[in-house]
Amino acid sequence: MSDYAIELENLSRTFRVGPGRTKQAVDGLSLSIERGEMFGLLGPNGAGKTSTVKILMTVLLPTSGHARILGDDVVEQVERVRRRTGVILGGDAGLYARLSARDNLLLFADLYGIPYREQKRRIGELLEMVGLLKSERARVETFSRGMKQRLHIARGLLHDPEVVILDEPSNGIDPVGARELRELVRGTVRDGRTVLMTTHYMFEADELCDRVAVMRDGKKIAEGTPESLKKQTDGQVVLSLDIIGVGEPDLDRLRALPGVHSVSVAEVDGSQRLDLHCDQQTDATAAVLEELRHLTVLRVSKREPTLEDAYVSLVSGGDATWTS
């Protein structure tokens, strides 16, 4: 019996994206997740998170390498893996819109082979837990996104799995709903389960996960506790400027300044937010403002780096990235 709940060993998956062209979605990924651990898989869109999750939930085969859940190979011992793994998908799809919440759960209870006598109790418990007891008879097509997501969670936990895989659970959920959702997710680990979740919300990973790994272009580029990731930006400060009319040549000049590690830009309400990762020792503020003196600077502030900053500086490889 393996000591790890989830083990990926040199896992790769290639897709054909056209005649003679392939895309390496997952590229030699290795991970070991302990039992009872809450693990976060981070990365931008297209980094290979969803492919990894699909391989683990046995609906996609790896091109090479191995993936094991509780010691069972996801290719060879499909049946055992499926019995012991719960899958919680994000987004609107994946539920039967015309059935009620309860009927959705009953259907999957049968698919997971839960005995009839257990079904009623278990479904009642779960509906209560995710707060859908009041609307259990309503059709899912009338549900809000947050309600659907909570139903997804109940469905994933139906057969009381030892390992739970969450694929971007709070995608498109409002902040309050997302906070409730995180509470729910935290609750699932309390029962001794192992949880692997993908997300691109850094604070979510920071709040929930014991350890995280960051993926880019199918590869793992960092792994560790949220704290250790943040340490990568130790000795740095983030200089944040709200500014109007900044262009690519300005950014290049900023990047060339001594003590500036990376520059990223985001559009915020008609202005641009510049985040510069700078050395704590060399105060670059004056030099930066000097370079930007021909532009309107609305606000300047300095702050400690967050996990998000560490993440941004990782996935942008030290270069500037445009996001909005």
Binding site: V87, L89, G94, Y96, D103, F108, D110, L111, I114, Y116
Partner: protein, 270 residues
Amino acid sequence: MAGTFQRNTGAAVTLRLFFMAGWRSHMALFRWMRPSAFFPTVIGVPTVQLVWFVYLGNYVGTHPVAYYAVGNALHASAIAGLFAPAMSIQGERFSGTLTAVLATPARRSVMFLGRVVPAVLIGFLTSVVMFALAAVVGDVELPWSRLPQLAGVILVTATSCSAFGLLIGAIGLRTREAILMANLASYFMLLVCGINVSLESLPDWLAAVGRLMPMTHGIQAARDVLAGTTGTGVLLLLELLKTAVFLGIALIMLRCLEQSSRRHAVLDEM
């Protein structure tokens, strides 16, 4: 503690998977289950179809009117039989639930075969209603003594048709054209299954194709039962044999398609 529901493979669990899960998927995915669609489609279409062919058959006069009435009354089960299994498998793709369903450990054969049962049931009931209509507008005589036998014939025919529907659904797991195929199959059966044209008046090769299609022997058996001739047992056995073959091919196809879907990641493409 996690992991309490992991070792359940008893007969009761399998039966529930077969009947209950099959019924729920049917309710979820057979688009015509809501009353606003059920009556025009599952009851309405066979009704107008039967009236039309009785009217046309009466005008043409090649066979007695009852010939057309019986054929079309049995073909009525094709609406549920062909479309329900096809929609229930193809619908999984559209609702995005296929990935979740295929990640469960449920036995595929039981799960998919369970989806045929509601189709058989509804197909059977439709045909029964259509036989009542046939008695009114199509000169079909239904003596009480032969009703049990006739019911048996209808059930076998509806089963065979639904098995064929599952086969179409299996193709639907990979293409999005299952509904179109079911439509085509339904019209084709009007021609080759001895519903409106007797097999003898078709070219030999077309008649041979007709004998391989569902319903053909069942329809013959129904006419024999109503005429009081013997030997319907053989016809029903042949119909059941075809049913088994359709189901077998459908399950093998579903298995192969699932495996190749895993390999080529085509589950979510629409």
